[in-house]
Symmetry: D2
Subunit: 457 residues, 4 copies
């Protein structure tokens, strides 16, 4: 899970990329990087941590050129390595390449095997290094080679690349991860989410379409759709949890979708309670929708501590469930003696959820009910969402009633699959629902369980 | 403006102080410090920055002893100095003292003059150094001396101190700043706000009363009220803006107060509009109250970026009002074509407010109205709230209509003084409203305009 | 033990102070600080660590004004506190003071007692804070007050201070610690050692004399000698070990003195050996002198590793005497089968010395003899040299023969007290030899064993 | 120019590698890295800066396994990139490789061209990445493949590598860079210089011979010499300047060699002077030799400041030749009125030399003569010594007389080529003297002027 950004044709390309990545920081907190180019030479800087830890004004100013691509990377357990920072850079006799990738290739392992057989060596476990090898395999850095290389990829890829004097944006045929195109004065912008455009006051033009490759250089912007067509299968979880509410994702606004998910939940379940409250901030919109539809008052029953960072010192003893408690504190007088309906965006492992429910009860809530704005997650994602293994997914092995008991709820209500799909103002067949339905749009490789490069080496 | 914390009688005193300060971080982001003692030796650590920047696990573990006091300090422009970090420590032949102070003494300058005349030297511009001098002036570190010293102070002071084997909590007779007492297992806790108790799962006992001094040592806890009695005049701005919504301040819950402020605003003004939205997060509760009372739907029309830190790089050119934009991004589809009622907790200078309103209009809002959950701020605070000088307070020099025009609103509605006071479920005479009414409860010194020590040297 | 520096009347005062302190870095590696002033306002920066860790170009440039004083502090075990960094700064209604002090007051404890009785409070355990209190006690910041204040000090003090628009240099009547005066273009410079003048290309004028106070302001430089006269008793250890060889200290060049100490050692002892080698770099000069006088070849038998810093990681096991070994490595082919005469400047505890001798033997030396360029150190220093307590001084409790056995030498030869004194081209009565003779020039206080402020609190 | 280290068969392999690199730090101050392995998994850490900046105890402890290779890299202007840190690591399906390389391949550019033609991509400009590609090109990670890969290399290479469960040490047929083998208890050690063995108390066994490859695994140590034999051409500059005096390099001790170079210089030139002094520390040994042979007294006429680090702040104005002055300060009383013979190890650009001579004159030296312990450097090195381009080499374009005038000497005396060669107790045909004679042992590529990968991309 990552955020990517690209800008072409602006003398402040790296500075605006920095700002664009700021708006995309929620897509990746582990590392950040920007590569810029004047068409002939790429300079770059990457580092572990938040954007602000990685970049200084001096560094941004040193990244010259009117093209830039940037990347923020999500922290996936156990693979937080310096070497896996993006953009991935290649200095090659055929030219210079910088690649920012969001998604997960399902055939990365196979491609890597083949490439290694042919003599390639790999220094990272990133899909983007595989893509770089494919790009430089062919004879010349022409359009056909790019098309040829990307044709070999299976799975999810939203890409922004610099290849010599050209910026390339591309999206897999399923449209699994978002990617959109914008314009700022005369220059083009590409970003994972439209909220990045808002920040730099760029204009949203359109999504880069599933299966589309855009070539942008100083003379023109050219679109090709060279891949064999498949059905669209965009990740519905972007709307449920991952994207920012102010973004337009796959053509729909996330805030409105989430409110509608909450409304639909209220339509599906009629829970007797005194107030509706979100787990902030991810449940805010759905809770608002639930409140409006059910006419039950909305309350901010828990207060979020904005200072909780990753280096927080945890006490070894004495304070139970501390990490959970420090992030969200209940407002006792609001909860005391009340039947509370809590709206969660989703339940993954269930452990944090359980601790929060306990806190709510200790704060005086008489009953704690929960509505979840998506169905039970029963299967892992192979296209870029960092769910844990099936073993750790609580809904993969327990019934709703068992989950309710585990979490300690008076009642638990998951949104139906259908209810979820009709809440988004887009064709329901356009979405991947594999994590809820096991219906994977892209055929999985035999070695699926170990498909991720990181887990193999 | 600061947050203070003290713990007596717990072997994890410094660790729990660290956690308590975490809950109080919103009261001061500039510097942090903790001093601990076993009754005979004080060790301490202080530093500039957020708690997490200043402390590591190793440092916390090095602060031994079963007593500790901690402090977080607010950033007031121009006086961010290392030397002004608290707690203030004195190693004296009469004993060891650590002082954490919240508030502003109005006679600090006079006291300092007198003390310097008598030969004292000062290394900081902090009120707490003045207090330290007074404490050590008298012959012995007995109770009478503490009472004698504190009797000389005028203005606002909430104090937690270690004096040899005793912890002392004290509050001025007006009760300007909050301070409350809690208990965790056998140990006593003192904090600016009750949210610090929640985090460490301590039990709230009661406020330390205006004019009360508490002496806590291993034998007993003793309360005295030695000062000449005055009326209570607690800072109402703690409820309006400064305290955390989950805190119990001056005996009332802040969340509920703020909701009631919003309700009262709706009762006072009947504005025709399609939605109510807060400036997050400070306006959240009042906006909810306004929505409930007015039956106009509540929406989260702006999304807060949680990653905006203090070292953010700002572009020199090209992106107008950037700092405002990066913090809050409007959700266009929610606002488009709508008559929007925005709820602000307060308006100080008006500049940020103006930029936000402009952003809302650019995002498609048809009309932008604003409700403010307090009256116009017309006069500075001399008791610890870091308002700018009168010259910079927009309401000190402009009428409401002029402010409305400056900010660019369709209509602007300030809560009435009376409406504000009756929204808090406490006697209205118990509050200081000087910033709204110029009715200062504590007589100001002649040199009031330059009363702050920091501005004199 | 510290290095101090002052500059008056140069617009680059703080920059040149930084450079001057660079040349004095050997006098203190623990902390560094510079305070500058334009005559009415003092700005300063202090920090723990080497000069280069503490200062950046930006910080230096922020220290404005045409006067500056600087300080580097030696690391004495157990008292490495932030609070003890110098210069010590006071902002007082009578004026602004910055004090840089080298030496140890023998009556600091008494003075502090008296001052605390009168109401003073102390935040550090530094002598300079005591001096600051004395300076501000009197009514006005006039010359008489400075003289009055300094008259109360007993023990060793070399001082450079800024007091409003005046720079003050002062030295105790014994002249225990060095202090000299130089000139650069029109501006005056004061430094612990003349090597600081060389670096900034200032001209050495003369030593500040024992008992002299210099007042430098824009109109004139004025010298007074107001104290009751005593005999001179300059610290001979400055020549033996502490000062840099290229410095002129107490009127004599250190390099030449050390060579003569070596020559004298050769005159006193006729040791049969094949080569003379120093413990680098402190024994270099004396070894050269010994070699010249004895006509035994000089060899660099051990190579110094220039990269050994203070944060070096030491292996827990497997490599014995590692810290000693990493700093100096023997050159085996030079030592193999040879009778080696090793020249040490002094022996304090004897432990490091012992490890080195062992290494020399393991590297093939047939015999290891040692010459020490001073007599046995039998008593602690109360005037600023950080010798350990008497208990740890190897020569305080063992005979030379016992020391020889402990260190593992074939023979051990200490320079005689007389030999040492006649090696310096200065009157022998001008020196303090207390650490060799127990003949302390300044009467010790009753509480001498605990005289250091740091050890009391 | 770099230092390399390897250890096989010791549970403290990474810790001992750290210590070994400490002894080799003079061979590279720019970056440092260590990779360790248990035979199946490689972990590593690399960073910019000195060893102490890059490694902490925690990091060292995290590098598990009984094999480790380490590297310190020299700072060559303009190519200080994170990406060029070593060891170079490859995770490949055929196995795991860690490569530490010292030297310069003369055909790196050609090899890279060929490899890129075949599809390889490069992320660094290091020779070691080229070597990695060659190693993984062949079908299996067997001995033959290693031999095959290394056979393609031209130029200078001293290598230590981990390849799965085997440690490999190798040296080019010319033996250009040093590499030696040692033993510590049961484990094998490989290092650039023997001083690394001394520090960890390992025993020196022998040099790895020119053209030799050592394969070390848990069963055996095996030596092969598969390459076509050439003459030996070891870098004589290692003895003149680069290696540490306490090292045994190419079979001879460096200290003794340097002394002999000084003696030979005295035999070749009879300069009338009062004292001989080195430019410390590189000229120390030769100056001692000169002094002994000529019977002119040796003096330490300049004192080295041990605190000069790389981040030193330089004054913009006022202090001429500051960087030169801060590093070495003359001892005036030693020099005053004297005819001084200064011994330098070598003269490259001549600029620093000139500034020092000026300083010596300003310090009172009556005459300044210079002896250089090698002949004029007239041609660049293509095998790893970071000389500047020919254009910048002062002796490439000026006569000795012109150099003398430029530097400002009374007389200048370069050691003769023959004199230099006979000073080392080794066959004179065993050395590369190309920088003095233009007689390059390895044929240069056509693109020699741009042969360095770093300069091409």
């Amino acid at each position: 899970m990552c955020g990517i950004f690209g800008m072409f044709g602006n003398k402040n390309a790296s500075k605006l990329s920095y700002l664009g990545l700021y708006a995309l920081q929620h897509r990746g907190e582990e590392s950040a990087g920007i590569a810029s180019s004047n068409g002939s030479k790429i300079t770059y800087h990457k580092g572990m941590g938040l954007l602000n830890d990685v970049f200084s004004e001096k560094i941004i100013n040193s990244l010259k050129g009117n093209m830039a691509v940037g990347h923020v990377r999500y922290s996936t357990t156990g693979s937080s390595h310096h070497k896996n920072m993006q953009p991935f850079i290649v200095y090659h006799k055929k030219g210079h390449i910088a690649i920012a990738h969001n998604g997960n290739l399902t055939n990365a392992f196979e491609l890597r095997d083949i490439l290694e057989e042919r003599g390639a060596i790999f220094q990272t476990t990133m899909d983007s290094e595989v893509i770089a090898h494919l790009l430089t395999r062919s004879a010349e850095p022409r359009r056909e080679n790019v098309i040829d290389a990307l044709s070999k990829l299976k799975g999810a890829f939203s890409l922004v690349m610099i290849f010599n004097d050209t910026m390339i944006g591309a999206r897999d045929t399923y449209g699994l991860r978002p990617l959109c195109l914008g314009k700022l004065d005369g220059s083009y912008v590409i970003a994972s989410e439209s909220c990045a455009f808002d920040l730099i006051q760029a204009e949203f033009i359109r999504d880069i379409e599933p299966g589309e490759i855009l070539f942008i250089n100083k003379n023109k912007i050219e679109s090709v759709k060279p891949f064999e067509k498949t059905r669209q299968a965009s990740c519905i979880f972007e709307h449920i949890y991952f994207s920012r509410p102010d973004s337009l994702v796959f053509g729909a606004n996330v805030y409105l979708t989430r409110k509608e998910l909450g409304r639909q939940l209220a339509r599906e379940y009629n829970v007797k309670c005194d107030l509706v409250m979100p787990i902030p901030d991810s449940g805010n919109c759905a809770a608002l929708g639930y409140s409006e539809e059910s006419n039950i008052p909305y309350e901010g029953g828990m207060i979020r501590n904005h200072y909780v960072g990753r280096t927080f010192i945890q006490p070894e003893q004495g304070v139970r469930d501390f990490r959970v408690r420090v992030k969200l504190n209940p407002v006792r007088p609001v909860l005391k003696g009340k039947r509370v309906m809590v709206i969660e965006d989703s339940i993954v492992r269930g452990t944090t959820c359980r601790a929060r429910v306990k806190t709510l009860r200790e704060s005086g809530a008489k009953e704690v009910h929960m509505g979840v704005s998506c169905p039970p997650i029963i299967s892992p994602c192979f296209y870029g969402i960092d769910f844990p293994t099936k073993k750790e997914l609580i809904a993969a092995k327990r019934t709703v009633e068992e989950i309710r008991q585990y979490i300690g709820l008076d009642s638990l209500h998951y949104l139906s699959l259908d209810g979820m799909l009709k809440s988004i103002c887009l064709p329901k067949d356009n979405f991947c629902t594999a994590c809820f339905s096991k219906n994977y749009p892209v055929k999985l490789p035999k070695r699926a369980s170990k498909y991720i490069l990181e887990k193999n080496r």
